[in-house]
């Protein structure tokens, strides 16, 4: 129940509203609330406490688990078949890489048991294949490829601090493990608000990232193409993985990849891989590595 003073105040407000005009009052209120709503935009610097260790599986904004089939809609004649000798189009190969590729032959490497050199991490996602993605543990995403029967393990780190904060290291911790075809991969979800908010610091309600990045090193030298295009032992790779869901229910996984190799490339080699989610693993068909098919 309103007191007598409240009644007076309400009456005064009605008078003010009447004089000022209800429409103008509403507009003024809207303007004020707009200013308050915009306030987070102008905030600068890091926000909130530093990230705590979390289980990547529980924090994952996108679900990648299940079976995926690659769709070869780009660079078809370099991926579906073994291209001819000297066919290096669309790879920024340098002169040393070209010489090495020109001299390469499949037979000696096959005899030496190096069939999987064309299935290393630098190109594995580019092969025509199916993937089976599972969480091996709370922070490790396991990616099995049927073609070549290879397994990548993506070890998730805590998200980096928001933009403006100190840079966080993003490399696999050094181990005494020998290099391997799939190397060491670390992954992380971007910080909330990464990517900027119309050129300003991230707002509290900035969109949640729906992708994650992967950094890979400690790879054995291998082949970018089965006609001998090489990558060296110091190669590193950076990827962005993202899942898109269509209104029809189709789910697409796109991986944007950059391969860095100062030994054989003029510049980073950049390519994309597309996968479509499959309902089950009925078409899963493990086949061993081959340099000739």
């Amino acid at each position: 129940m309103a007191s007598g003073d409240d009644d007076v105040n309400i009456s005064r407000m009605r008078v003010v509203a009447g004089r000022f005009g209800a429409t103008r009052l509403v507009g003024l209120a809207g303007l004020i609330s707009l200013l308050f709503a915009s306030a987070p935009l102008w905030a600068q610097g890091p926000r909130g406490p530093s990230p705590k260790p979390i289980a990547a599986e529980n924090e994952a904004p996108i679900d990648l688990t299940g079976y995926w089939v690659s769709l070869i809609t780009q660079d078809w004649r370099f991926r579906m078949v073994v291209p001819g000798d000297g066919e290096y189009a669309a790879v920024p190969i340098n002169s040393k890489g070209k010489q090495t590729a020109d001299a390469w032959r499949a037979a000696p490497d096959e005899a030496a048991g190096k069939q999987c050199e064309a299935y290393g991490a630098a190109v594995l996602m580019r092969n025509p294949e199916r993937l089976h993605i599972t969480w091996q543990d709370a922070n490790t995403l396991r990616v099995d490829a049927d073609k070549g029967m290879q397994t990548r393990l993506l070890h998730f780190l805590p998200p980096p601090p928001p933009p403006g904060g100190p840079p966080a290291p993003f490399r696999a911790p050094h181990t005494n493990a020998p290099p391997s075809w799939q190397g060491q991969s670390v992954a992380r979800w971007p910080s909330v608000g990464a990517g900027g908010g119309l050129g300003r610091a991230p707002a509290a309600n900035a969109p949640r990232p729906d992708s994650f990045e992967v950094m890979t090193d400690d790879m054995l030298p291998g082949l970018l193409r089965k006609n001998g295009v090489p990558y060296g032992s110091d190669t590193t790779m950076h990827e962005w993985w993202q899942v898109y869901t269509e209104s029809t229910g189709e789910r697409w996984l796109t991986i944007n990849t950059e391969v860095y190799d100062q030994e054989y490339l003029q510049k980073p080699y950049i390519y994309e891989s597309i996968f479509l989610k499959e309902p089950d693993g009925s078409k899963w068909g493990p086949t061993p590595c081959s340099l000739t098919s």
Binding site: M13, A22, L25, V26, A29, G30, I32, S33, L34, F36, A37, P40, L71, I72, T73, Q74, W76, R77, M80, V81, V82, G84, D85, G86, E87, Y88, A89, A90, K98, P128, E129, R130, K147, P190, A194, G195, G196, G197, L198, A203, A206, P207, R208, P209, D210, S211, E213, W240, Q242, Y244, E250, W252, T254, N256, Y269, I270, Y271, E272, I274, S293
Partner: protein, 296 residues
């Protein structure tokens, strides 16, 4: 009628806060973007190379009859590509925000650096696309919305054009979905082209763009003035097509130069999937000589 100023004020505040929140939940796409991908260079320039494109019989036949000289025809010289050229053309473009009088971003404009496709205006203010009976244009009509940090766009009302630059046609029922996800100075651009007239299945294509200050330095209004290039072809009456007796020759381009069997070169949904490698196993002939076309 009883007036309730407090209720009106509260409603206005709530509405404005919600509207502002939606507007703030955007990633800034502004900037000059350049194509960074090495993949798919060159861009489907070979005749009758439809491998990996889910083209149907109708689309294939039209593509096989396509002549590169078509673009030299007088009335086609200034014809832009369809908006799907964002995905398979050689350029990215400049992203600019479109704001209303209050400064709220209501759309994005993606302008190409060359006269090969029209600017793509992406409305994100909730407006609905025009009726399918409305005018279909090379620009089409594009709406968008944010899903997480991804701008999802949908383009409809496109006019007849091409899906690939080597002749697979696009009908006026072509639609285009593009997902733009910015990662700092890079952007993942993934698209799905659909066309019930010429494609049997969605055709997904992905790209990587990067911010480059000089990427679109030449961006300015372009004017196209047609001029006679091929004598006798551009008279306004004749149309450049590959005649039936030359189609076989054109179809054999990929088998002859790259050893790709005709079943693969002519495309189709099956050519997108890994299983198709088995069909290629017995018919692919690996070129024994060094290639002489589009090689480094």
């Amino acid at each position: 009628m009883k007036r309730r100023p407090f209720a009106q004020v509260a409603l206005a505040c709530l509405g404005t806060v919600l509207y502002s929140s939606a507007a703030l939940a955007q990633v800034d796409l502004t900037g000059d973007w350049a194509l960074a991908s090495d993949q798919s260079k060159p861009f489907q320039v070979f005749p009758t190379d439809f491998a990996g494109v889910p083209v149907n019989t109708q689309g294939r036949e039209a593509g096989v009859a396509h002549s590169e000289e078509q673009s030299e025809e007088l009335y086609r010289q200034c014809e832009p590509w369809s908006q799907s050229y964002i995905l398979n053309g050689p350029f990215a473009g400049r992203f600019e925000a479109i704001r209303d009088v209050y400064g709220t971003v209501v759309g994005w404009r993606l302008s190409p650096p060359a006269y090969d496709r029209l600017p793509n205006t992406i409305w994100i203010d909730g407006r609905t696309p025009p009726s399918n009976n409305a005018l279909h244009t090379y620009a089409g009509f594009t709406t968008g919305h944010w899903v997480g940090s991804t701008l999802v766009t949908s383009t409809v009302n496109l006019t007849d054009s091409f899906i690939t630059s080597n002749g697979v046609p696009a009908s006026d029922q072509e639609t285009l979905r593009i997902f733009y996800t910015r990662h700092g100075s890079e952007m993942s651009v993934s698209g799905i082209v659909r066309d019930p007239v010429y494609l049997d299945a969605p055709w997904p294509v992905a790209r990587t763009w990067e911010l480059q200050l000089t990427a679109n330095a030449s961006l300015q209004p372009h004017y196209c003035q047609p001029a006679e290039i091929v004598s006798g072809l551009s008279d306004g009456y004749h149309t450049a097509v590959v005649l039936p007796d030359q189609m076989r020759e054109q179809m054999m381009y990929m088998p002859r130069h790259y050893g790709i069997p005709l079943d693969g070169a002519l495309g189709g949904t099956q050519t997108m999937y890994p299983e198709f490698q088995k069909e290629l196993a017995g018919s692919y002939k690996r070129p024994s000589t060094y290639c002489t076309e589009i090689c480094r």
